[in-house]
Amino acid sequence: MTSEQVTAKVTTPALGRRHRRRLPPEVNILLVLVGIALVFEILGWIFAGQSFLMNVQRLRIIILQVSVIGIIAVGVTQVIITGGIDLSSGSVVGMTAMVAASFAQASTWARPVYPALTDLPFFIPIGIGLGIGLLAGIVNGWLIAYTKIPPFIATLGMMVSARGVAKWYTKGSPVSGLTDQFNFIGTSIWPVVVFLVVALIFHVALRYTRYGKFTYAIGANEQAARVSGIDIERHLIKVYAIAGLLAGLAGIVTAARAQTAQAGMGVTYELDAIAAAVIGGTSLTGGIGRITGTVIGAIILGVMISGFTFLRVDAYYQEIIKGVIIVTAVIVDVYRQKKRKV
């Protein structure tokens, strides 16, 4: 039976209608974001005597801070959808920041890493940075796909080693004196633009391309996906490579924003990125998650940090509360999954 024949037989396509009757899951998360913002707004008037939201400067800082974590989280979300995890992104940020910055130094700087290679056009350090991130991601993916070690272990190894590379690269000293051309990407709201473009690209990729459909299928049931003809190994390498590439991009943006690179950049960013994905509704068991949710999740994290600072909550409390919120998000997710089953 060819499907053409099948199609020909059918005259009443009235069966499944195309419209989603459920509200998209992002609506819930968006409501949470609005709720949190309003709580800070009210607390702001009560305790600080001023508005939390009606402050352009504050909102600008929030979205700028969110951008770097957000770029990483877009990659991490895809990894988590396949049922994996990426712990290496924070270290990859540090590694790429260092390496990219070393090719972005101005000749006016006293002690460049490569004295012969100063004042290079911006695309060379950026290209090298992206390449390093991509390579780290490919190594992660290859280890997971072919040696069958758990993603947790593979990326834990990369996390430790990449941080090691970042420190070894200049024996610990920071890389400064970067060209204006390179720094440009970190100025003004350009980090936000990069984040939104990245988010848009992968939102489209996940929802409308074969790459996306296969990513969800692998996360939902790897064995079934394999029997359906999906080359699991190749696909996993792709997904981890993208996550590495985006962590590399985040490293470049971080260095450009700071106009310097340090080996300690990006520490614990991987955890914030995972938290953003999870708060945004990505299921750690795989098969479920959307970039839009992750973007909102990242903003929720940013709003909370900014809000606590605004209310002068002690930094220690902030971390404690952040942990509680991440766990709560997962509990809510587990509960929601249970309820959805009939």
């Binding site: 060819t2 499907s3 099948v6 059918v10 499944g16 195309r18 939902a220 394999r226 359906s228």
Partner: protein, 513 residues
């Protein structure tokens, strides 16, 4: 009135065991699972010091009954008596404490612990400080092994043992509970002849000690060699109990398959075309060997055999899931090295696997996402982008043709019934226009209506020239649908039967050969 396990334990300890006619008996036991009546008012009576075999086809209810006796399942209805006293078993531990031990088909040992630790787990001898007294434990194990004539080192780790030796450890463990009843679920399925002989020696000595042994097997010759009595089950019903000296092999087979084929199979006579798939001397090390067969366009090749006969493994190997260790696969006369499902699909193969949940459905995704996943390999995709309109229409049309009952295409597949899940999977593969369709237990666990629909569909596909391989444990299905039947037993092909000559008895004979 039911007696609690602790009372029972006290009775056992006091030695005041009532002299009942049966050591263990179950009366009017009924057990229903969602959609399946597994046991319908069955009885089972085990005498002291006998080996009692349980016979029946796959799905006859033997395992369910044994699991009830071992406290794993709780019956919906009926009573279980131990030495004439009614008992209610609530857990396997309960059963153990009542002196009923079960040795499972899948061995339940902890691989990284020693033999002795496995045997005495939860009952480890302790020294004065409350720590485990390993010396004593090894001593106890050695004694136990001597009694059973088992030559194993109590200190070796279980993961280093062969399957046969693990089996011996399981038996020793069961005996160590001083059980009165020992339930063995196909204990010889992984043993060599010599190991079987040793096992039988042990069973005979246990029998002499007055222990009652329940022995589930598919092997006719074992029945005559070791069993004193046997009970036959069929489709969840109790058929009868006889002494094994009173009957012949043919009698038993008739009891096992005795039903008439009442269901209608819409098998159509269609012209059979050229050989599409030809398998020669295909082997997968330690799983199956020298499997050879041809399938022609329009032909339905039924594959029969008991669970574990290697039927599904052959299908997986042909489809590239587990590449063969030797032998050839030819499609339309061209030899192909089948290394992955991707490759199999590119040669026009489709495979509906045995386990819908494990290897079929993407349960948390919706109907559309489940149906489109295979065809997206090479159609409905342009520059990496899925042509949403085209694929959605194709899936909706397929869903309508197959009459998938779902509120809409966005319904999660886990919310559909088994029959509808199966239809979604069939739809997934029909979208790829397969030339060769492999179906493994296509109607397992689905209702009669959906079953008939799937049978009709398979017939239709054959009519359109698809070569179909259909693995099934359901005898009426195999006999009703197949043009030819290949029967397997223990990793070998034991014979082929043409549609005209095939009967249930002949298939069963080949399946236990």
């Amino acid at each position: 009135m039911a007696v609690s396990p602790s009372t029972m334990a006290a009775v056992r300890a006091s030695g005041a065991i009532p002299q009942a006619e049966y050591l263990l008996n179950a009366e009017n036991v009924r057990k229903e699972f969602p959609g399946v009546l597994a046991l319908d008012n069955v009885q089972f009576r085990l005498k002291r010091g006998t080996v009692h075999a349980l016979m029946g086809e796959n799905g006859a209810g033997k395992s369910t009954l044994m699991k009830i006796l071992a406290g794993i399942y709780i019956p919906d209805q009926g009573d279980v008596y131990l030495k004439g006293i009614p008992i209610r078993l609530k857990s396997p531990l309960d059963a153990l404490e009542n002196g009923i031990a079960m040795i499972h088909q899948e061995l339940n040992l902890m691989p990284f612990m020693t033999v002795a630790e496995n045997i005495w787990i939860r009952r480890e001898p302790k020294n004065a400080f409350g720590f485990v007294d390993h010396g004593k434990m090894y001593e106890m194990t050695t004694e136990l092994f001597q009694r059973l004539n088992i030559a194993l080192d109590p200190e070796s780790q279980v993961r280093d043992l062969s399957v046969a030796n693990r089996q011996m450890v399981e038996i020793a463990k069961a005996v160590s509970y001083e059980s009165d009843v020992l339930i063995m679920d196909e204990p010889t399925s992984a043993l060599t002849e010599r190991e079987v002989a040793h096992l039988f020696e042990i069973i005979r000595s246990l029998r002499e000690q007055g222990i009652g042994i329940v022995y589930i097997t598919h092997k006719m010759n074992e029945l005559f060699e070791i069993a004193d009595e046997f009970s036959v089950f069929r489709d969840g019903r109790y058929i009868g109990t006889h002494a094994s000296t009173d009957v012949t092999r043919d009698d038993i087979i008739k009891m096992m398959v005795g039903r008439e084929i009442t269901q209608m199979f819409p098998k159509e006579e269609v012209p059979i075309g050229d050989v599409v798939l030809s398998v020669k001397d295909l082997s997968l090390k330690n799983v199956f060997r020298n499997v050879s067969f041809d399938v022609r366009a329009g032909e339905i090749l039924g594959v029969a055999g008991l669970v574990g006969s290697g039927r599904s493994n052959v299908a997986e190997t042909i489809f590239g899931v587990t590449p063969a260790t030797s032998g050839t696969i030819e499609i339309k006369g061209k030899a192909i090295k089948m290394n992955s499902p991707t490759q199999a699909i590119s040669h026009g193969m489709a495979f509906i696997t045995e386990d819908r949940k494990e290897t079929g459905c993407l349960l948390i995704l919706d109907v559309l996402e489940n149906m489109q996943i295979a065809v997206l390999q090479d159609r409905f995709v342009k520059y990496g982008f899925v042509q949403e309109k085209g694929i959605t229409e194709a899936c909706e049309a397929m869903s309508a043709t197959l009459r998938v009952k779902t509120p809409n295409m966005e319904e999660r597949v886990e919310n559909l019934s088994g029959g509808n899940q199966q239809k979604v999977l069939i739809g997934r593969w029909l979208l790829t226009n397969p030339k060769i369709l492999i179906l493994d237990e296509p109607t397992r666990g689905i209702d009669v209506g959906a079953k008939a629909e799937i049978h009709r569909l398979v017939s239709q596909l054959a009519k359109q020239g698809v070569a179909v391989i259909m693995i099934s444990s359901e005898m009426p299905e195999v006999l009703g649908m197949s043009d030819r039947i290949m029967v397997m037993h223990e990793g070998r092909v034991t014979g082929f039967l043409d549609r005209a000559e095939a009967t249930q008895v002949k298939v069963m004979e080949l399946a236990s050969k």
